[in-house]
Subunit: 384 residues, 2 copies
């Protein structure tokens, strides 16, 4: 069966895996040049400044008009809502610091490599999101007795594997309406209106879930009496070994620790250079399944591990924790690694967990560091 | 000769060209995931919102402290300056709208491909920069009679092809001190303090020049009696056919027009889909050599060209111009192209101008568009 009505198959192919020696394709590069990760030195900021937070946009950033924007809450509800931005801003607001990670983070480290947005480890960021609790809006609308899911529709429109669509995802109603999950309809990021690429003027924020659930440019919430089976729910974002598998849905963020690479980089290889002696190592760690309870660092590529100091801020349970330790560097090429364990006992793996979509690969981060003495002559200043 | 004192060659190799069938390497991908281009739909904004403007950082974004930041103006001057931010902000300020483009834009479209940051066409952005005219600071410091260049030093530190360095570039004094060139020491972007990735707290802005001249995290201006011959001036950013060539320096931005791709995209191929009938085509065009005087659009991949309407804003001579036209789309796979001509007669080429560094490749942009009728059934909304 041709899945592409209107001949969309000419520009919209099926999912595929890269060949054994296939370098990154022009199509993957086109995605990598528009979307971007967190430069890892930006792990230094508790809250990621705009422009450094990762961005993944499926289609185009839509040309939205905040002044005329409407959010509807309908479907299986008793009192449908039709809200504008002033109406949302007039409701009680909360601000939550949330670490957000793309479900495809780590994909480009897999072999064979699923061909899609080619993230290494940097598709993450932490922001302060301000908005109205979704639970409050749903209580106002009054879910019908038979409602089981909330379906969220964004304004971004495109084609994917031959299927033309608005971006659309669902949550179980039990999650969407749970005050403890703190799902937000957010209109501000770090105290300012949402930037275009983060969903202006409204987006969903689902603490603890991978990014695909945080629907941007949100215009419609629809409660349904049956589970939603659209493209982004059942074709994409499933953990599959074979194309025909039903697959498990991608949901909560797997634990991950990242290191702010120490020293200074080589431009091209991004390998690091440090001087011999004590080197502070710092970074962040997070999990959507529960608090991170342990971060370990390896100085020998993952053979031996020692605990780092972990600093969690109880005021921000949905945000990454900080970690730090000191490494005594000795001359030579070194291979650092870091891994997180969360309160549910989940530990980052040393071998990547493979699936056809390249989702949730929380393989430990490895950082190549050359420890070299300082040059005997310092870098030459310009001759005056 | 080993160019890498301290053994830096272990992580810092020489420049190279990709092999004939070599896909993008892991190192190029690591650059592409940290740096990012302008998503082309963001050409719709006269001034690019933060986070959508292109970013290219050679080393790490440094951890700067605006409160203690100093800018020195020294070397061959009569009255050396040592300025803090309040001191700079107390001086007469100007705001200029400037289009900034990376010298490596277009590199990944070259064959053979120089291995470096792999831009396609999107390494551009336009911002409103506020700061102190460099000409005023230089007049205050008083250039010595023998001064010929101004050397600018940033706070970003790293290794490149075995050479450890702070990022450093020079301008001829005649350019740096020319009030008409309007070189700025900028402390604000779009009305807000500079974001970390754009040079917080200070950067140079050199209207009309490629990005390598706009030194970020600026901490030192040094006037010299001889031309500066450091790495970024004489090893990098030269137009060379062979490794040993002296090469021409990269300076002013070559003309380029870009189209905001019409219709909507396929997620993976980024090809566009439009409906049959009139389709508005819009975009931007710029040149560092002079005003853009003509933009032409081709509907047949570059065989025939027709003029687009060009809208220049005389209030913003350093910023891109807007252009627009209407295309009557008919069903099938179409290949659009656009090209700019500037007042000096420079026209974008149909074949890429190749050099070993991959600089200034202003090859015309080509956009693949599938014109397809609307599906007979609209996209299915969620069943309530």
């Amino acid at each position: 069966m041709d899945p592409s009505p209107g001949g969309l198959g000419a520009v919209s192919g099926p999912a595929r895996l890269a060949g054994p020696d296939e370098g990154l394709s022009a199509q993957e590069l086109a995605l990598a040049t528009r979307n971007h990760g967190l430069p890892l030195e930006a792990l230094r900021y508790d809250v990621t400044p705009p422009g450094l937070h990762y961005v993944l946009v499926h289609y185009d950033i839509p040309d939205t008009a905040p002044d005329t924007w409407r959010l509807t809450v309908g479907g299986r509800v008793l009192r449908p809502l039709d809200l504008d931005l002033p109406g949302l801003r007039a409701r009680p607001a909360v601000t939550r610091r949330v670490t957000l990670e793309c479900a495809g983070n780590g994909r480009a480290l897999l072999g064979p490599r699923p061909v899609s947005q080619p993230w290494l480890v940097e598709a993450v960021g932490t922001a302060e999101w301000t908005g109205v609790p979704l639970a409050a809006l749903l209580a106002e609308a009054g879910p019908a007795e038979d409602a089981v899911e909330a379906v969220f529709t964004g304004a971004d429109h495109g084609v994917e594997r031959g299927v033309e669509q608005d971006y659309r995802r669902s949550l179980p109603l039990a999650t969407a309406a749970d005050p403890a999950r703190e799902v937000l309809v957010a209109y501000a990021m770090n105290g300012a209106p949402l930037p275009p690429q983060h969903g202006s003027p409204l987006r969903l924020v689902v603490p603890g879930w991978y990014g695909m659930a945080h629907v941007k440019w949100l215009r419609e919430v629809t409660l349904t009496a049956t589970p939603y089976t659209g493209f982004q729910q059942t074709a994409a974002y499933r953990l599959r070994q074979e194309p025909g598998d039903e697959g498990e849905p991608v949901t909560l963020i797997a634990p991950r620790a990242l290191m702010a690479p120490p020293g200074f980089p080589d431009f091209m290889s991004r390998a690091r250079v440090v001087r011999p002696g004590p080197v502070p190592l710092t970074g962040r760690a997070w999990s959507g399944h529960g608090p991170v309870v342990r971060v370990e660092v390896s100085e020998d590529g993952g053979a031996a591990w020692t605990d780092a100091e972990l600093v969690r801020d109880p005021a921000h349970p949905w945000a990454w924790a900080a970690w730090r330790t000191t490494w005594t560097a000795t001359p030579g090429l070194r291979h650092l690694a870091v891994r997180a364990t969360d309160a549910t006992g989940r530990v980052q793996p040393l071998a990547p967990p493979w699936n056809r979509g390249g989702f949730a690969n929380n393989l430990v981060q490895r950082v190549e560091v050359l420890c070299a003495p300082a040059p005997t002559a310092p870098p030459r200043p310009p001759a005056a």
